[in-house]
Symmetry: C2
Subunit: 202 residues, 2 copies
């Protein structure tokens, strides 16, 4: 079951898997310890609380998300707008892999926690808000690049468009999770670019 030196990472990995499969409140520290095959004392050696574990877990998850998803939005090999379509496609592929593995559409690990915890834990809420803002910033970068290359009009409201597209993606993930079905996800996600909007002229 791995050495003691892996214990902290095993706890983080277990919490990530269990929270994603169910929810934050549904998973207790004891269950995380059992899943990670560590003693409860070991948990408290590394983390003062479930909240502290989750804050660290979120930072780790963000790094994984950056490598797997954000990098594709910044990759200059594709035209900028196609990168956004590809970003949505990667999201769908990840959901499909998890569905194949678990039998459930698990949804966005950040969106899930944000929905469950935003009214209950202001530290976790604020961290998740920062992550969404970062995603918006990277979507906006792709839109700015699309303006630069002439794919989009100069007066595109990049900030508003990025916010709209991210909200749409999160909403699609919620709908897919509720239907436990990715059937419409691809065709719906291809409609995200319709949300690109121009600034008013006044």
């Amino acid at each position: 079951m791995g050495r003691h030196s892996d214990a902290k990472q095993r706890i983080l990995d277990s919490a990530r898997v269990l929270f994603h499969a169910r929810s934050y409140s549904a998973v207790g520290i004891q269950e995380i310890c059992d899943h990670a095959a560590v003693k409860k004392g070991s948990f408290y050696h590394f983390f003062p609380s479930k909240q502290a574990l989750t804050l660290e877990l979120l930072d780790q998850s963000w790094l994984g998300f950056e490598q797997a998803f954000i990098s594709s939005l910044l990759n200059p090999e594709r035209p900028a707008l196609q990168r956004i379509v590809h970003f949505f496609k990667l999201g769908c592929e990840m959901q499909q892999r998890l569905l194949d593995k678990t039998g459930c559409v698990l949804g966005c690990p950040f969106g899930n926690l944000a929905m469950e915890l935003s009214t209950q834990d202001d530290l976790l809420r604020a961290k998740l808000q920062v992550f969404f803002q970062r995603m918006e910033t990277v979507l906006e970068k792709a839109l700015l690049e699309a303006i630069r290359t002439g794919e989009l009009a100069e007066n595109t409201d990049t900030k508003l468009s990025a916010k709209a597209m991210l909200a749409y993606l999160e909403g699609l993930l919620l709908m897919a999770k509720t239907g436990n079905n990715l059937q419409d996800f691809t065709v719906l996600s291809e409609m995200a670019l319709k949300l690109i909007t121009n600034r008013c002229k006044d």
Copy 2:
């Protein structure tokens, strides 16, 4: 604290308020009973479980939602597309009222539970899926009416457009909840009509 004959409704009202303010898992039967000022035995007289309570609560919430929101989508006094804009506006106004009252953007009561429970409770998931499908159907009716009155092209894909708009609304509510802020909600929700899409010609 009201008569025994109100006890069932008080339990339902308490569960609705507490689930919406926090989450399903975070609120236990004892807390619901305390909030409703009923004894735990009384709870089990009416409901065999928290799940049974929630199934009944959801049916009641749907009736309230129909009166407050769905009716506006079917109201012939407004042109059909304006009804959709108005539907989003009503959602924003309700969130603002709850924010003023509680200090928190509480989000969609259906979306919250769907996100939290879809992988954990298949009965609740299926009921929430039906509600979302009903919302899509009513949005689609407004789009069909807009085709009839010439506001939209004949080849509008009403089903896909309705799905996209509902997902977008749920995503906007999640983003507002995560930011605990309705600042962008109005301007973003006005962009929902951009998701109206036409059928492919093949």
